[in-house]
Symmetry: C2
Subunit: 815 residues, 2 copies
């Protein structure tokens, strides 16, 4: 151990991350003329003036009269901290758009600093084009200010109401993965992506830097990340802003990027440094693309990125009342907090706002002076109007082969076995092939395990990273691939969201238990869609399709950590306008369901289907009819024809459908006089009353199937309580007996796992007997005894042999 390895004491190295020493940059430059700098500064000041207006003012927008408390919003909301740095970045990228005629969009990771960008969108004229009442005049400016973070107005992030946004930034971590998703298959697009240094501490963001290993420079666009180190999050310094610069540079080189630092607080110097750096980055991007496209050889360059160090709350007073404001965490949200109660602060605000000289920026009518307006890119090129950010406006429907032609032959219900997922994979292969630039499949390294590998015939796995000779031996890697696999649920979900938000289509396939990893992302996406429904100019985007497989009932062997079907509980809480859940019981139902999901828009579709061999129930015609209804009585398994049943045996989910039918068969064997109705649910929301979900059955429809006075034994794929949560309003709730996974598991056989959760065929049949009461008499008691014995036998068999008895595994409906 060498003592010089001891890198630094705690107080060393300040100069490296201070923004108050001389401006430093990897690329130095002095290309901007005095006039250019002046104009850029004026535009910058105009945006900052607007930012403060948004945070503070409800009246007197141009400060044409002395500022009074009555002009101030009663509740001060919004974030100032990253506004200046974001605006500064945006302005400099605009310069590049004009100079190089770029097609670009902006993604703001620190969406909390939305004023920094929205102010630009307003100055470019786009905001007023989208919202004519937010006009480019004094009255419009006043409305622009007042609506911000105000009831009935817009949120303080880059919400769906904001033109030019496809990423809200309300929850941190997804800016880079969204950006990559937006540029895949958009070869002309550059996503200029501002990453906050707070966001950069999150796990999802930290791994998403590796997205560059999945980008093909020939067929995809580019992402230009600007890591905005303003030094602080809410109340703490940020990790990356305080590590030695040599570590910071190494980190991003290690992530495979070429980092260019721009650091300082002197505006003039910073303009020169940023202009030179931006130009270097844009030239590199264009050169790499040219090289790849002309040679036809995909490669992974160290794409350029910018590390911008500027003061938190840049241009605010450095100190207020003796405490640091600019360049410190106090600048995070509202910079002067007491303007409503403290005259001195009010005057300070007025002075500060006047320091931007609004009278030189805006005419008396509130319109931006024409010489500044020229700084904006021309119409059609402004990032705030890029149609990609209103993805629905460029979305084309998928080309889908007729799924009926891919049917599994089911001559008779419940006798043949087949792997549903493999039949689906055959059809999916065509979806991949027939939509070569608008459909991708995403997954965390599980596509093959999930039995979908047939799709590699149409598109292999994207890999723009190192290759080895053995990759030829079934590696299925290809820079031109169509399947996106990285062992980060966050990243692949982020890519998919970015891909569909920018007008394309896709499918995420994942093991069921680990989808909880992205609960929060799916929540946020559902919220985005719901808000978008309220925004008249937002066009419908493709649904977010999540196919869950390797489900709980076939995770018997992987153990307890791999058993959690609770994602559905998270999804059902989202708006009924947005969420859909399907549990197709067999191959043909899966095909029908997936076709429907791929055709749908503006939903989060969750489809749960196992990958293992399953008993098959419906031929294609019946499957389509069943899926169209979403729930139905299965005549072939029922014996209540033309009569009231004694009992309803209901099921939802493929494995549970089989167990429920096996239980039905046991009951009919032992108690042949019982009238049993068999009901199967594909579309989970059918269970909800129709006034609470558009798919819900009316009470009449519901009771026609489930009755309101007969026991229902319901075998459910997931946690049983979810069915009660959906049906509690229905009559006969006390007769509804649901079995599902109740968090009992270990290393088991499939049947023993079901037994452990009392959701196996024997337990279901026993439950039915117990709820039919004394009327079954001795015959019922005898059947019960028999079933108990058989259940115990299966359990013992499993413990002894590690297997289920063959007749349980290969069970078919006994005609």
């Amino acid at each position: 151990m060498a003592p010089d390895k001891v890198q630094r004491t705690l107080t060393d190295g300040q100069e490296e991350w201070s923004v108050y020493s001389k401006t430093r940059s990897t690329i130095s430059g002095d290309s901007l003329s005095k006039d250019e700098i002046e104009k850029l500064t004026k535009w910058f000041h105009a945006t900052l003036y607007l930012c403060l207006g948004m945070l503070y003012l409800k009246e007197n927008p141009l400060l044409q009269e002395p500022l009074k408390k009555e002009h101030i919003k009663p509740r001060l909301l919004g974030h100032w901290g990253s506004d200046a740095g974001q605006s500064f970045t945006y302005i400099h990228f605009n310069r590049m758009i004009k100079k190089y005629d770029l097609n670009a969009l902006v993604i703001s990771g620190p969406g909390h600093g939305a004023p920094g960008l929205i102010s630009n969108f307003y100055l470019e004229g786009v905001y007023s084009e989208f919202y004519p009442n937010i006009s480019e005049d004094k009255a419009g400016m006043q409305r622009f200010f007042k609506q911000f973070s105000f009831p009935g107005g817009i949120g303080s992030h880059m919400t769906p109401e904001t033109p030019g946004s496809l990423h809200e930034g309300g929850e941190l971590g997804y800016s880079i993965s969204h950006a990559f998703g937006a540029v895949y298959d958009h070869p002309k697009t550059i996503a200029m992506t501002i990453v906050g240094d707070g966001e950069s501490e999150t796990g999802p963001l930290a791994t998403s830097w590796h997205s560059n290993k999945f980008l093909n420079p020939i067929t995809d666009g580019a992402v230009l990340p600007v890591l905005h180190l303003n030094g602080y999050k809410i109340h703490n310094p940020t990790v990356l802003s305080r590590i030695p610069e040599e570590e910071l540079i190494a980190l991003f080189k290690g992530y495979g990027w070429t980092p260019y630092v721009v650091a300082g607080s002197d505006l003039e110097d910073m303009h020169q440094a940023m202009a030179a750096t931006m130009e270097q980055c844009v030239k590199e991007i264009l050169a790499y693309q040219k090289q790849a496209r002309e040679s036809g050889k995909a490669f992974r360059p160290s794409w350029p990125m910018i590390i911008l160090r500027s003061p938190k709350g840049w241009t605010a007073p450095r100190k207020v009342e003796g405490h640091y404001l600019e360049g410190f965490f106090r600048a995070h949200q509202i910079p002067l907090t007491k303007v409503l109660t403290d005259d001195a602060q009010l005057q300070q605000l007025e002075k500060w706002m006047h320091s931007y000289e609004p009278e030189k920026l805006f005419g008396k009518d509130g319109k931006l002076v024409p010489e500044l307006r020229e700084l904006a890119p021309s119409k059609g090129k402004r990032m705030s109007e890029n149609p990609i950010t209103n993805g629905g406006s460029i979305r084309q429907p998928l080309s889908l082969k007729k799924f009926q032609d891919f049917a599994l032959d089911v001559p008779k219900p419940g006798v043949t076995h087949g792997a549903s997922m493999e039949y689906f994979a055959t059809w999916l292969t065509h979806v991949v092939r027939d939509n070569p630039t608008s459909f991708r499949v995403f997954g965390p390294d599980e596509t093959q395990s999930n039995k979908l590998s047939k799709i590699y015939e149409a598109g292999k796995k994207v890999w723009v990273n190192g290759y080895l000779p053995e990759d030829e031996d079934g590696g299925n890697l290809d820079p031109k691939g169509r399947v996106m696999e990285m062992l980060s649920e966050h990243t692949v979900e982020g890519w998919l969201e970015g891909y569909i938000l920018s007008g394309r289509h896709g499918l995420l396939n994942s093991y069921e238990p680990f989808i909880h990893i992205i609960d929060s992302m799916v929540n946020q996406h559902a919220k985005w869609i719901e808000k978008s429904l309220e925004v008249s100019w937002r066009q419908q985007i493709a649904s977010l399709n999540i196919l869950l497989t390797s489900t709980v009932w076939r995770q018997d062997h992987n153990g307890f950590t791999h058993q959690d079907p609770g994602f559905l509980d998270v999804v059902v809480n989202k708006s009924p306008e947005v969420v859909r859940i399907y549990l197709p019981p067999d191959a043909n139902c899966l095909l029908s369901t997936m076709n429907h999901c791929f055709e749908s828009t503006n939903y989060v579709n969750v489809i749960v289907a196992d990958k293992q061999d399953h008993l098959q129930f419906l031929n294609m015609e019946d499957a389509v009819a069943h899926c169209t209804k979403g729930v139905g009585r299965w005549d072939w398994a029922s014996n209540d024809q033309g009569a009231e049943p004694d009992l309803v045996m209901a099921s939802c989910g493929d494995v549970m459908t089989q167990e429920s039918l096996a239980a039905t068969a046991l009951l009919r064997e032992h108690l042949p006089e019982l009238m049993i109705r068999v009901v199967n649910v594909v579309d989970l929301f059918k269970l909800m009353p129709n006034q609470y979900h558009p798919h819900g059955l009316t009470d009449t429809e519901y009771h026609a199937l489930f009755t309101d006075n007969k026991p229902v034994v319901f075998a459910f794929h997931s946690y049983p309580w979810l069915v009660h949560r959906l049906t509690y309003k229905r009559r006969g709730q006390h007769l509804m007996h649901v079995r599902g996974y109740k968090e009992k598991g270990n290393i088991d056989t499939p049947l023993e796992l079901a037994i452990r959760n009392e959701a196996d065929r024997f337990s279901l049949a026993i439950l039915a007997i117990d709820n039919l009461g004394a009327r079954l008499g001795n015959k019922g008691a005898a059947a019960r005894e028999h079933l108990l014995t058989r259940r115990l036998g299966c359990k013992n068999f499993a413990f002894e042999t590690g297997m289920d008895p063959e007749d349980q595994t290969n069970w078919t409906w006994p005609y």
Copy 2:
């Protein structure tokens, strides 16, 4: 742009990551004698023999008779891919334990490769000490093999049943954060942590490398990460194994580590390289610790780490049937998959197992030969028995000041306002102070925002990263701090889990909406606890305490993305033995609840309490009584004394309690003849029937409070359906009307947000009137009309002014 920046074509650079060229290592060495190498190799082979035994055999454990299909398990489960690399690492660290008398534990990120470690635990004798029937003889070995991944046996990961494990590795991403959590305040401990290259792609893992900025070398122990690049995950190469080595090295230098590479497949060379590298790392760790401890100055060195490149499935056949096995993804799980059906494969397995020469490793009786046993560290030093990994065994109860002494004065219910969180913070400050090495507070940069910053008086925020002069101005940073803040919910949760799993106590505080980010982690921790309950030698650990604040009802201003109270829906699905949920309505109840949670063990306690000023209801005596019961009638607000009520007004959650009481007051004002019972719920599981949750009320108790024939208007903090999910078994369910957050939000005022969700005082009162039916007559209709008008008035007021009417905000109970 310089063309030489184009780093490589897709087929370049293979030598950098190939493990089949000459062994490469940053530190070269030849310190091991021939005899040492031979012994290490023998031990290594013994573990690999045991690994294959676990995967394949149920009989004939020593292969003393020719291998037959009858000896093979009927279902082949478990992972081979990382076993050899993990065992190799473990063996070499054992050498260091003996040489330097270290106190260490092992954490295995790729817990799927558990055989690699469990085999070592068996050879060290620990496994048999914990499980005497898994004895160190032939019969024990046979049981050891058979139980692995077998019904009634143990899982294929580092499950709670495994001695020496505090990290299962079933879900990937948390090895490093768990390791750091385990060594904080354990200054003598080194956590040797194996990170899989699959795991390293996950977001949580990617950011957790930064944990080194939060480790104090004086008072904390050390983590020695071994990034095990075996090149593949399930079916894909891994990102880090295929980036150029210069990037790989840069990445980890950027993360603040000193990476040492050991790469190759020649066992003898690899032994030399690994021995030298391990020793270098251990010496550096000890030297840094010595320097810091002797100087009393905390600093952050670039701690050493190892990057081990070894073939996936190392020592398996390189090719099987013409396809790559060793060194390719096919070695991930069961290496030879057809041994049960293919005689050639069965023979290949037999030959392979014999190649380890078991007869030279084990005596005829199955006992490890004595000369090898000497390689294990001495009793008390074996990682597999480290008491830290059975954290409950070293846990001491917290020293807690009597919380009653910190009571908020509440002379009369419902008239004073106070900030519950600040009262709690005062008491919490003592908890921090009085437990200086066994309690920490964790949070993602929100402790101050959550109004807990008073605790900085007892312990500031840990920061072992760069400092700036302005940090003195309220930065509250200190390498000796007790509060752990990083903007990664994953990392702080991982630290906390590691901290309590290793025998200490803690509290996570978080904004409610973003706790969904760690749904999956909390799920996994709950599963760990539940399994631990079944393991007789596992002692009880402190509960995982999660305090959720900045709750949905006070996220009116941050907008829709910040509104999600659905974490409770995830938690309720976990085992009733493990999960607890509390919603204390006021300051004194919060104190009482937190005291209870800190005293409890083996639970996941979720506490939901807002940080804003709230109406206060109970004095300390009443609060303790109320919290002890968990649910109760509030006499002072009820007027059904000695009689059956007409209506029950129930509430759960602080904001909703206030709205419910305000609704009650409105009803009593307008309809004074109504007999109203007010019921408040603190302990959510009281609602469940007692047979389903140990806290559940009996039906008699439940109906004594809620009746079974009167309308219940229930104002609930979270999504309303959760109450139905908990109470569906109770009689009178059709009379239960729950209001809560139903996914309606934007920028609002607090009251308007409640109105939007029909959970405000007016809507609750209207709901009551609507459910009391015609009996209220004209008076009811008039009251209804009045309430509707007032509700509309509040909405209009909010849209106009951005505020709620003052009399709504400052509402108190009208005596």
